[in-house]
Symmetry: C3
Subunit: 350 residues, 3 copies
């Protein structure tokens, strides 16, 4: 009898297959508190019911990155438990706000598959949808991972590579924004007078602070997200592995960096979409993570003159001064200190 906990290998995936992921999760104000202890978020909309209500939310929404982590966590046992690498994301959009008390579930469809030339593994493309208790999509994204084969003799499937957009176009974002009355957005309480109009394409922003990772922190975060990827929790195995230590969940770096972004982008309260992300290098306990952002693009949002979107390339870097903006070198390779390259659309008041 196969233990479902063993996870899927490359030959277990089939084009068109739909996977219902286990363990729906009711997200609560308790989760927001644990999340706050782990990342120290300070965006006013998600921190204060009153602030959120003043601009038209029924209550403070769940931080977008917490929604992301919970949805991705659900997919791990089925999609990436035996993954060698997370290769990419595309067509990643938040579609509905999530509030305390909502229950998130996730399904994935296999939209592409390609065995690698080595015959030992292959790339699986899935489109994952996180839904609320009413079945409404709250988050959707395509993702591709490299997965080992269990049985090297299993035949290669026909290669299908999905046609995915290079980036999310701004006319398709904002689905997770309810109708808002931004006239009541209080910039003093939000922590900065800097609005959409104050930022320029090409501008680089140093997010100043650094956060040193502890084993207990990244383990608690990853369990909070019910993410079971083994490399994060097991020193007995990982101590004998490639790095000699537990690997930090890549999403932990995303949330450290995203929440450091408050320093300089205090009003960028909503992460609306992700154009792409690379976990450039692994992170470990003891690393100090810094972040900086570059404004790649600006876009108005359909029919709204109160809010706008910034396309932001957020770099997570470690053990270095982010004031130097370490990113990509002239030869196209990343600087040694870069751990995360995260290209997203953020929404902020105009």
């Amino acid at each position: 009898m196969k233990n479902p906990a063993a996870g899927n290998f490359f030959e277990d995936f089939e084009l068109g297959q739909t996977i219902v992921h286990a363990t729906p999760r009711t997200v609560t104000t308790g989760d927001v508190s644990t999340f706050t202890a782990l990342y120290g978020p300070r965006f006013a909309v998600q921190s204060s019911d009153k602030f959120a209500q003043d601009i038209g939310y029924p209550v403070a929404p769940i931080p977008d990155d917490l929604v992301f982590h919970i949805v991705i966590g659900k997919t791990v046992p089925d999609v990436s438990r035996n993954a060698i690498a997370n290769l990419g994301y595309a067509e990643f959009r938040f579609l509905k706000p999530v509030y305390p008390g909502d229950t998130l579930a996730a399904t994935s469809e296999v939209i592409g598959i390609k065995q690698n030339s080595s015959g030992k593994n292959g790339v699986v493309y899935v489109r994952t949808t996180g839904t609320n208790q009413a079945g409404e999509p709250a988050l959707q994204f395509a993702r591709w991972v490299m997965v080992n084969k269990r049985n090297l003799d299993a035949p290669a499937p026909e290669t299908v590579i999905p046609d995915l957009d290079d980036h999310v176009t701004p006319d398709t974002i904002g689905g997770a924004l309810p109708s808002l009355d931004m006239n009541h957005y209080d910039f003093d309480l939000a922590g900065s007078p800097l609005r959409w109009d104050d930022f320029e394409i090409g501008q680089k922003i140093n997010h100043f602070d650094g956060q040193t990772i502890e084993e207990a922190e990244h383990q608690m975060a990853t369990r909070l997200f019910q993410n079971t990827a083994r490399v994060h929790f097991n020193q007995h195995i990982e101590g004998q592995g490639r790095f000699g230590r537990r690997l930090v969940y890549g999403g932990h770096i995303i949330s450290i960096a995203r929440n450091l972004q408050f320093n300089g982008l205090s009003n960028a309260f909503h992460w609306a979409a992700l154009n792409g992300a690379a976990h450039v290098a692994p992170s470990f306990a003891g690393d100090t993570i810094y972040a900086w952002s570059e404004i790649l693009d600006k876009a108005e949002l359909d029919g709204r003159d109160d809010i706008g979107a910034l396309r932001v390339r957020l770099f997570g870097v470690k053990d270095c001064d982010p004031a130097d903006f370490p990113g990509v070198k002239e030869d196209g390779k990343y600087e040694d200190s870069v751990v995360l390259d995260f290209d997203c659309w953020l929404v902020m008041p105009r």
Copy 2:
């Protein structure tokens, strides 16, 4: 004036005495979140209000092990603050479901007492009842501990050893299960198609994953349970003690093992009773805990054809491969790697 925080010694206990334990506790969704960060539980019933409601719960119940830890924590200052060893449990049953917002309190009755031949300590037997805000018992168990005497000259009490059942009989369990409509139990969302009928007596199940313990984690867990046993928190004292380090609360191992049990027993959503438990060896920060289970017995539940009970012997082991099922050796002694031997009744759909 005696500081109540000093706790009771052997001669402070008297047969028939009732102890009202301090600090009732309202259990909240916040506690569930902290618990999730500490143990990563994935049983769908406790994780999702919607899943729970679909089968007839008013809302997701509090995880049984969280209820247990809170009740046992209340008893520590009175019963086991000066205990040398936790010797056993019996007649341990969950009697009512506990929901967020319920307030747990605990009382214990001294049901047995026996001074040891050394004259330095003795065994105290108590029956502890955890009640909700309506005074209804939610959990009840007998427990015996070895406690030091304060004054070696104190006279020995008359020995009374209570008559405790060898194990909990299945006809007495299920009190904490409300009337359920298991037709709406979704096995895809629950994470496994394996039901009660799929398991056989004698079957061994490897729970695969390992969790490395961090000092911050076991301390936070033990404080969450308002358990004040000194050995878990004080490196200044324990550094000079027998082990040179802080001892991990035995219940921390129980919850690590219980929640690893999801891998292979995903549908065993309710821990209904405990037949006995031994903390076989101490655990410390840095240990990696694994778990495996053996099915000892199967039982139908009174008048219910939708759910059944499995008697499961759950072993917690450390720094070894659980696929080898390390347990009891031929000479009746435990394998070196065993830290927990936990004989319980679990309920799952048929």
Copy 3:
């Protein structure tokens, strides 16, 4: 463009200036749970909705020290991000109870300013008010900090030193106590029979237990409070600094000591006012914190014969036996082990 995250320097403060601090925060039962995991509070009023309701609260109030940390956390980016030292507190009173769901915001008024003779820094006095969502003050205190100048050539402001009370007089405390029916206060459930009448001026109380600090714990606490002071989180910088390690937030020591106070002062459920506090020495991960209290004074509360106030000097000490009551030496200097000297008013039943 100045990044608001850089914080204020000495010359940015002006007498009479009002600072609206960023990021209002809705306090939830989730925060209470995280706080419980960090400090293990056991005061019954804050732990149990039922206990609180029995004496007249609508629901269990938020622990006072959690309210304090959240309010002080809001002031850090504006007031103390570039502070060299926290010099003192005065006229510190809790004014309204705070309940789960309440939203805290904070403003500060600059009430004094004095450049130091070195010309490199100065002292800034602020009066901070934490308000709830209705704008009602929940906590108010004066505080003074030493802050660096950014530009040494900036002219010195006119010196104004505010006239602050030496201590809070008992006739001005109790604002955060609703009308209570103390006849229903259950001393068994509260953990001790010792009431206000049982304590004497001059009495010293050993709070017994010790708590060893972990990096993950103080970082999670400090982030929970949205306190961004850089020295607590960044080993990359602090490893090269004066101490070679991250400094623990002084408030972390306050809450460890305050919650150890349960051992001996179990009924002192409300911290009503602070007369003054000194962070005598820095604390670091690995330190084991103990606490002891001396009763400095006793006071009746205006028109109430059911509760009374104790003026308590709470010492936090490290890596030593608190039974020795290490405090102030004959020469007026602190014993080496003292880290916190905290002079407060506590309220308890008579």
